[in-house]
Subunit: 270 residues, 4 copies
């Protein structure tokens, strides 16, 4: 008879149970959305109950998984993520902690940990981030330098957009995204026409850096694919080499046999 | 004497007939456009007649194709598409069904099924969709989570953009597309300056996911092309291998001949 | 003594003359820009003279090139382009033909035909256009279908943006480019909330087609580069194959020589 | 006992010293940001002192590096960059030179020269610029031609956006970036509906050129990566070739040995 912990592990790792939990996550996500409407919550009071039932199922599920996997549960970052987002639901969200109520919607993200293909996508996205840090740092420096310059030069002319450093940084970020940039810089350029060159240079340089940030991500994604194709070709070449070497080796043994025969033949008649 | 059905099939499959139908589709498309102007329809009443003539041609064409191809017609999705968009034209579009009148313009899309190169493009576009589902689902989850959070936090501050969940979702979608995002979030950030971090984080993450969605499509398109090139190289390597092996084999037969001659020679003088 | 036509050809094809013409094109381009300011033209009347001098130089240059190259001049599309943009300057641009005055600025584009690297870039850009026609046609059809639908459904609600078909087509184009789309559709969605689904579907589909249009161009550009790399690898494989075959062939001749020697040896002592 | 200059060189090139300077650059960058707020400067007067201390450290550092590296210092562009941005801080920024005060924030960019990975990124970005010049020149010509045309045609209709050439160029640049383009061209298209075709043609062509500019950068980035993969495959093929040739050579020596033995054998009994 198997150990009870092994039986629980078989239960929580079974596809049926995991699909059931995915269903509960979806129901919980929908309830979290409907809860934003006080009118709906008054009309259908059982929605609130349904929400608490799903949370109760999550608590039971997490408890079973902790019992089943023991220490291994706490070593898996996805499991810890599940534990934290469920725990947030249990903290009384009144008074100072009422901000935690907002975090409850992060339970929707349990879908990421529950569905295997979503985990892979998130892992793949996270893997491309290191390749972006240097260019990302360059972009941050550009916005900072441009923001300080804009504050020094234009804070008097246009206090609304460039009054102090945080405002300038946000304006420069907005200009970089290309959203209404002509309107943001208009008060300044109306008074200092030469300011156009500052902003156009900034737009060109920041667009260029963002473009290279995007290309860095794309190149990293393509690199993996290439390496696989290149590996296959190399394998093909190695295979061809070993086939040819085997044929030559077999020929060599034939020549060696010939040589033996000949010396035997020499000796034979000798 | 061939079967009449075979004769009809030869007729409807002939390039001349297919080019004629393409011409009728284009005329029908133009009429559908001109029909949007009541002034034009009054000035040129024959436009309406022309529209009905093209529909009549479509009905005859579809009938002939059903007769010619029999069950095979109903197995081809493009043929079914043709049947449906033509059938919509015949339903009396009055009363409850008047909404169907709008769907008549879908007849323009018959060009997709009639021109072979368009079919290929549509098939190629459709083929890249499966590779996008996981990242697309991630994007939908992000918008949902951000929309619920924004409703909980900002519905009181800015009811116009974040008053209820559907409004918030649309606002978050608009912010993601980068259209006037600074104006959408201004009422909120004017009151809660800390909300900037929420929105900038959302813009960075959603842009990053959209970028990866685009890269996934591009990588899939490039993959096919690579595989073809890699296959050619592998074929070249295999060809080189078999040429070399053939040369070694021919050398081996020469050595074998030498061996036979030698043993003959040994025996010869012996 | 060479033919006078050959001497003229040597003169117009000399790098010195071509650099001189590039200089004249740049001067002419600047004058065309300055001519847009009536104030500048009044202050510096010699600008107008300078403009006519550059045009006179162009006329002499084209005449010399026609004399030098004869019929070949009229077969080169770049030469014909030069001829047309210079000819436009000579047509009296008064009365009905005053619109031609605007076309004079196309003389700036003579830089494209005069600088070799620019010709290559234009040729490369033009070469990617055929690969875009099918997806481009799909995009045009989408805008047309969406425009007709929007006119039928929303012309009464929002005559400014969807009053007739041309207006709707332009609005749909604007929505596709993502410029102020939320503001374009607001009058409609305020009255018909369900219209959101129509516009969001349109935005998703049109963005997807535009993305694929861009990818088609990128794939075409990358294809060329790949093919070169693949050709090099294939060449390397062929080279390796022929080296190996040559070595085997040389070995075979050694075996053949051995065989001859042996039969000689057999005969020798015999 | 080593030369004092060598000791100084070991000191300034030590990682500890370089990390210390990176720290000073970051402190200096923050102080430059805080200095934009007169209120903060009044509240914390020691901030100004801290700024001068960091500049003093920079002066000492640069002096030590010049002493340590001698002429080599002036040959390294990064070192010259460091020298210039520190020198700017020492010029009294009053009167005519007060514009130099704005340039002080460029000291933040010393991070680029101090951190090795940032240097590499900047060098990589700069390396892709030459591949863009031709397409970039094409884009500038397009904006110029469109700007001159728009001024000639629309300066009377819409003086605000197309009143003179500089204004038109900026408007055309704004239209190209897709920012509020519908609003920029509205005054013109309201009066001349045919102007739509001019602007839509401009948007399509400029977007197409920008797309190709982006693709040119991406292709250059991918090219490097491909070449590395292709080189590895070629190396693999060469390795396989030399292995096979070595095997054939060894076989040949066996055949040669056989031939020697045989002729010996022939001679032996002879």
């Amino acid at each position: 008879m198997p150990h009870p912990r092994a039986r629980v592990r078989a239960f929580v790792d079974a596809p049926t149970f995991q699909w059931f939990i995915i269903g509960v996550i979806i129901v919980n996500s929908l309830v979290l959305g409907l809860e934003t409407s006080p009118r709906l919550m008054d009309a259908f009071p059982w929605l609130s109950t349904l929400g608490w039932v799903t949370v109760a199922i999550f608590v039971v599920e997490i408890t079973l998984r902790i019992y089943a996997h023991g220490r291994k549960f706490f070593r898996d970052p996805w499991s810890l993520f599940d534990l934290v987002v469920v725990a947030v639901a249990l903290i009384p969200a009144s008074g100072v902690l009422s901000v935690l109520r907002v975090l409850r919607v992060l339970r929707v993200l349990r879908l990421l940990s529950a569905v295997r293909s979503m985990r892979r996508v998130v892992a793949a996205l996270a893997a491309t981030i290191p390749g972006m840090t240097s260019i990302g740092a360059l972009l941050v420096m550009l916005i900072y330098v441009a923001g300080v310059m804009a504050t020094q030069m234009f804070s008097a002319t246009d206090p609304e957009n460039f009054g102090d450093l945080p405002t300038s940084l946000l304006s420069m970020f907005q200009v970089m995204t290309g959203d209404d940039w002509a309107k943001v810089i208009q008060p300044v350029t109306d008074q200092h026409p030469a300011a156009w060159s500052f902003f156009i240079l900034y737009i060109l340089v920041s667009t260029y850096i963002v473009l290279n940030l995007f290309i860095a991500v794309a190149v990293e994604a393509l690199e993996k694919q290439h390496e696989e194709g290149d590996e296959e070709i190399k394998h093909e070449v190695e295979q061809a080499e070993s086939d040819v070497l085997a044929a030559i080796e077999s020929l060599r043994s034939e020549v060696a046999a010939l040589r033996t025969e000949m010396s035997d033949g020499d000796r034979g008649p000798g």
